[in-house]
Symmetry: C2
Subunit: 380 residues, 2 copies
């Protein structure tokens, strides 16, 4: 996929991943880049996240983004902080920009020192081009496929999103890296706040296993080279890209065979709708039921019941794959037909809480034996 105007990207294999797969991605702006940033709330956040927060606070423009996969450089002490700074220095030196204009990111195993000398040795190999695909591949860990999404804006501007996900995916942020790149200027009027709102409704509504990771970030980056776009159109497009990437992350959750989409309407507020949707998408029991094509709506109702959203169980309605299965009480349905309908790439749960006007959506994936296998043997 082609990058928006003003961006170049490339990648290489530095040897951090024992598999020898690409693990180092570089994204560069031809000119200073405007940006908005959202990152993990985990207290054990990695040096790259702490550094990113400082860069945001300092309000400077970005020139480059350097990402390694295969090692999260988290819980690696003072040495880890130094390694993260070194990453920024190396990219800055090579590109002839200030280190403070280089955002870093690391994803992978926690607690293992980052072999930054491998990055030093292989960074110069990176060939920059106007295609994002090599970068998209280099940021993956246990993902099985690259995650890209695109929206065209009026006047020829574009929004291109790239992300990685897989395990340890849960609000607020996960082992998730997401970058939305655009040549449209960021609209005036608190773009960081608007970006935070987009992230809350999309990336923060993805749950793979309930674990919030230490290294995650969602960054919106603009070269500003295209003509300005009306703010509402811009944010709609940004939300569409973020939503598409969020769905791709959920669908490619570790061991996942199916995407679970949960839409909640009629909640007392949008926030409660999101809470309720997330509880269903995150329920281990419902995730296992989806894996087994089992229309066990009791597990949906139970998850709604402990979600924290206010509603009356004897008033709410639940649809599964467009079939109403609960409406203030059990609704008779053809279990065999519905189980067959669940044998799809996407299982959709729609809930009407009948308690207000709030709506929200969340995405997850089924819980499989493969998830257990992947995560039972990761470091050893």
């Amino acid at each position: 996929m082609e990058l928006p105007a003003g961006f170049k990207a490339g990648a290489t294999a530095s040897g951090i991943k024992p598999s020898g797969k690409p693990d180092l991605g570089l994204l560069v702006g031809d000119t200073p880049l405007d940006w908005a940033y959202a990152a993990t709330t985990n207290l054990a956040a990695a040096p790259c996240v702490l550094r990113g927060r400082n860069l945001v606070a300092a309000d400077g423009a970005l020139r480059a983004l350097l990402v390694n996969s295969g090692n999260a450089n988290c819980a690696t002490g003072a040495e880890g902080v130094a390694a993260d700074l070194r990453m920024a220095d190396l990219a800055a030196e090579m590109l002839g920009v200030e280190p403070e204009a280089v955002l870093t990111a690391s994803t992978g195993v926690i607690g293992v020192p980052l072999p930054v000398e491998k990055i030093e040795a292989h960074l110069p190999e990176i060939h920059l081009s106007t295609e994002i695909d090599a970068f998209a591949e280099a940021i993956l860990t246990t993902d099985t496929r690259v995650k890209l999404s695109e929206q065209r804006l009026p006047g020829g501007a574009r929004l291109v999103g790239v992300a990685k996900g897989s395990g340890m995916i849960h609000p607020n942020m996960a082992t998730m890296l997401a970058y939305l790149l655009t040549d449209a200027p960021l609209p005036a009027g608190e773009p960081r706040q608007r970006w935070g709102a987009v992230v809350d409704g999309t990336f923060n509504q993805v749950t793979v296993d309930g674990d919030t990771s230490t290294n995650d970030m969602a960054v919106l980056i603009s070269s500003g080279l295209a003509r300005p776009v009306p703010a509402e159109l811009f944010w709609e497009a940004a939300e569409a890209v973020a939503r598409d990437l969020a769905r791709q992350i959920a669908a490619d959750g570790e061991g996942a065979e199916k995407l679970i989409t949960v839409r909640v309407a009629g909640a007392a507020s949008d926030q409660e709708a999101r809470l309720a949707a997330r509880a269903v998408a995150a329920s281990a029991l419902w995730k296992a039921a989806v894996h087994g094509n089992d229309p066990n709506w009791g597990r949906i109702l139970a998850a709604l019941g402990y979600s924290g959203a206010r509603f009356e169980p004897e008033r709410c309605r639940i649809d599964l794959q467009k079939t109403t299965i609960y409406d203030g009480g059990a609704v008779p349905f053809n279990g065999v037909a519905l189980s067959q309908a669940m044998q799809a790439a996407e299982v959709v749960v729609e809930v009407d809480l009948r308690a207000g006007e709030g709506t929200g959506e969340a995405w997850g994936c089924d819980l499989t034996e493969e998830y257990v296998k992947i995560n039972a043997e990761y470091t050893t």
Copy 2:
């Protein structure tokens, strides 16, 4: 195991469980019973829980407890409420007591009408004795073994606990039923509040899959036939029995092969210590790592980081099976030896947050392929 003085119990197979296993348990007091009650906070609570809350509020004595397994009688509408009342009426009629003196409980699948006529037909078969074992077996669902615990009190009084657990186990309450029976009088001075505190530190610290069930209760019941016991001794014994049952429930979680115990010290408060312990015990990634004997402490640190407990990652300490693996940073350890040490029936994580004086404990189990298998095909 023998019941405390003043109690009798028995069980039968009413045919609610298709397997034909015992599924109806009756517990009776020779005289009116004093009691304290804690139940699920799930909004979709079952009729038995709603009725139990009303009985508590009315402050009457208990004479009997009737429990069926195999069907939760939850989300079964007005018919379900009637079925629950009918259970109480049937027991009351047979025993010659008021229906308001009969506590009911149901556990099993949600949303299927309870065939109360089977209870009516088979209740009279129950043979009451001074042994609790048949009752303990009849309340099980996917549990693989009965859960009993006992403490002797000064002066000859006893505390006998019985519980069932398995899936859908998470604070606050789960597919969990727990009854603590004693012939000691409940100590004066807010026994219900004290019981709530015991439940918070024990049953509410068990997590199998993060799902809070609709039907759960932990009830302390006293015949008062023995001599009074000093309050502190009584509550210590009650906590010991509750803790033992909580551990048994976690160890027998669906598909579990190992008990995970997490002890947190040095938290800003006991509440934060419990939060932190629970986050680690509930982490799908850590549960899978325990299954694979993988000393992946990064997952422990990440779970502590998103738990909500306040601490500094560069100050805390983590021990696994008595080996320090993190102390403000990675501590070198023998991975092969530690992986071998994890091949035990119990894996113990001890954390010192070094942020205060709060302590707490939580229990969980490893995440296995078997958990997925059990829950992927439950109703169909």
